[in-house]
Amino acid sequence: MRFDQTALLAPARLHEIHGDEPDRAAMLHFALAAAGARSHGPILLLRVPQHRQDGMAYGEGLRELGIDPARLVLIELRDTLALLRAGVDAARCTGIAAVLIESRGTAREYDLTASRRLTLAAEASALCVLMLRVSAPERPSAAQTRWRISAAPSAPLAANAPGPPAIHAELLRQRSGPAGQHWRLEWDAEHGCFIEAALPGAVVSLPALRKGMEGGTSAIARAA
């Protein structure tokens, strides 16, 4: 069943995505999927690189997620204050698909006022602003939704190969809406969207159970 990201991550609003440091790639994937699906304009990614070995986005990998690498504009700033100022400027710009702002650790400058400014800017230009908070504590903010994303084990393919990327998504908070739902989402590369997929191996096949009942063996059927 298709996971309707655009309905939950509404445009013209600020959305927060929380996660841990090792799950950075999963958070970026979730955010890019939300940004890229909407329109085909440029995507701005604002970061504060901590050190040279932090890494960078890889164009071929972006293309596998259905996003043209030429759309991405990387903006590297020197501290969180600069990041937020540039973020507000970027959020006011028209003609781009989305703005992704990545902050690391407890960003003290990102408080209620800053998030309110980002929300106002997003409303003015009707684009989606996603705040990726890596290893950050939750703080009251003016964001429309707050998510927690982490990587999930994928369903293995033949020869023990890793299957399509899977993530655990939890909606921690939603303004004027229900919150607290969990999803296990799998990436569908053909359609370029997330689908809700249950955990692998959780389903017990019925014919095997029935056989067990008729045949008289008390062994519980193994998962399919």
């Binding site: 304009g41 890494g55 400027d89 028209t94 084990p153 190969a161 899977a166």
Partner: protein
């Protein structure tokens, strides 16, 4: 294929321009040839012509390989005609032939067809007539221009045509042969002086805005927009402060440029100090690009959106530095870290990434340089069972691979010899027990090095 130009050594063994390449190679098997680049030659000629402007303002190029300089009244400044000629030849840095005459057509004819200063002794081929006319003249026994000039002009005109007679008269000196000199437009600049020095930066910026309006008018006349604006503020005590801003797209909008200037002034580490005041302000547009007047489209939104992103990127680049706003560009290399490079967004437009339909999976995030990890594999050529990265041990649950990427042996000295081509990498796509996916590689096969090391190159989504 034919030869277009030969050097002295080739001319000595008898190769001439116009000869077939096969014939030339037959004469001298070890002939070194380069492809003819007419555009490159034309560009070089134009550059030489501009260099000659130090001798005289009247310089014209005579394609494909000549220059005409009108040195009337200039020769005495350089110590005479011979001295000027010697300096000009030295300035080109090439092997040249030259000739001096009283008019341009004669000089041109002398340098190409003759040698002496005597115009009358030039052969009739100097008129550059077609094949038939030249043969006819030769049959009539007329070989030099002097003999032609003695004949009545009307008869020549009837035989050879008006154009030939005009050319003859130009070479002799009876008709004018003007040259069209090269002209280079000067850089647009504006300046304003103040009787009373300006003590405040705000006033200086207001004056700059006025100057910008005037500069924009100059650019409009040329049909150009500026890419770089240079501002120089002259203090009354002699100090000069210079600032410059760059834009990604050519622009003629004074409001936008003032905004960029304000951003630049805000980010100065050394604040602008008027001292006793600024008594002159100059602006110039050193880098320009063609910009035609654009009509606002009726639909409006998309075109405005495009411009808005460019303005935002300019503003961010002006504020935080041009190296802060980057774009990814593809590079043709099968080594993953060389497959792309980052370049400032202002300098280059977005590139087209080639589509690779059957490509192996690539990570979303790449570490450059690759991070060393310690890994343990159960079989030598297989994927690791567990690995340790940044102090944490990860148990491998699923693995795909290996994808073998060899080194770029052609870039190395002696790389074609076995064992010198660089280490081969075996890449594995790994998923650990918590579901995170990594891209690891073993640097070197077991028969290349005894203890190959493992590295983490990227993270998958």
């Amino acid at each position: 294929m034919r030869l277009v130009a030969v050097n002295r050594a080739a001319a000595l063994i008898g190769l001439i321009p116009g000869m077939m390449l096969a014939d030339a190679r037959a004469r001298h098997p070890a002939l070194l040839t380069l492809p003819h680049q007419p555009e490159g030659d034309a560009l070089l000629l134009e550059r030489l012509a501009h260099r000659m402007r130090r001798f005289t303002p009247m310089v014209a190029s005579d394609p494909p390989d000549g220059l005409l300089l009108d040195i009337t009244g200039c020769a005495h400044l350089f110590g005479g005609e011979a001295e000027l000629t010697a300096q000009a030849i030295a300035l080109t840095g090439l092997t040249t032939r030259h000739a001096l005459a009283e008019n341009a057509a004669a000089a041109r004819a002398l340098v190409r067809y003759g040698g002496d200063a005597d115009v009358m002794a030039l052969p009739v081929t100097a008129l550059e007539l077609d094949e038939r006319a030249t043969v006819a003249l030769r049959r009539a026994g007329l070989t030099t221009l002097g003999e032609l000039a003695r004949r009545p002009m009307a008869a020549l005109a009837a035989r050879l045509g008006e154009a030939a007679v005009l050319r003859l008269r130009q070479i002799i000196g009876d008709a004018d042969s003007p040259i069209a000199p090269l002209r280079r437009l000067p850089m647009p600049r504006e300046e304003m002086r103040f009787a009373e020095p300006l003590g405040r930066i705000e006033d200086a910026l207001e004056a700059t805005e006025e100057l910008l309006v005037r500069l924009v008018r100059q650019l409009e006349q040329r049909g150009e927009g500026l890419r770089r604006l240079a501002l120089a503020l002259y203090r009354s005590d002699g100090q000069i402060r210079q600032l410059s801003v760059e834009t990604g797209l050519p622009s003629r909008d004074p409001a936008l440029l003032i905004r960029l200037l304000r951003e630049r002034i805000d980010t100065l580490t050394d604040p602008l100090d008027p001292g006793f005041g600024f008594d002159m302000i100059r602006i110039a547009a050193p880098r320009r690009e063609g910009l035609t007047a654009q009509q606002q489209p009726l639909g409006g939104a998309k075109a405005q959106g495009q411009e808005s992103l460019a303005h935002l990127l300019d503003r961010l680049a002006t504020r935080w530095g041009a190296e802060s706003v980057l774009r990814l560009h593809p590079h043709d290399s099968h080594i993953p870290e060389r497959g792309q490079y980052l370049a400032p967004a202002q300098q280059a437009p977005p590139s087209l990434w080639p589509s690779r339909p059957d490509a192996a999976p690539r990570p979303l995030w790449l570490f450059e340089p690759p991070q060393p990890v310690t890994a343990m594999a159960e079989v030598p050529d297989g994927p690791p069972q567990r690995f340790r990265w940044r102090g944490q041990v990860h148990e491998v649950r699923l693995a795909e691979g290996p994808e073998r990427i060899a080194g770029e042996w052609w870039r190395r000295r002696e790389g074609h010899r076995p064992g010198h081509g660089g280490l081969t990498r075996d890449y594995y796509r790994i998923e650990d027990s918590s579901g995170r996916r990594y891209w690891l590689f073993r640097h070197g096969l077991y028969d290349e090095t005894p203890h190959p090391r493992w590295y983490l190159h990227g993270l998958f989504a």
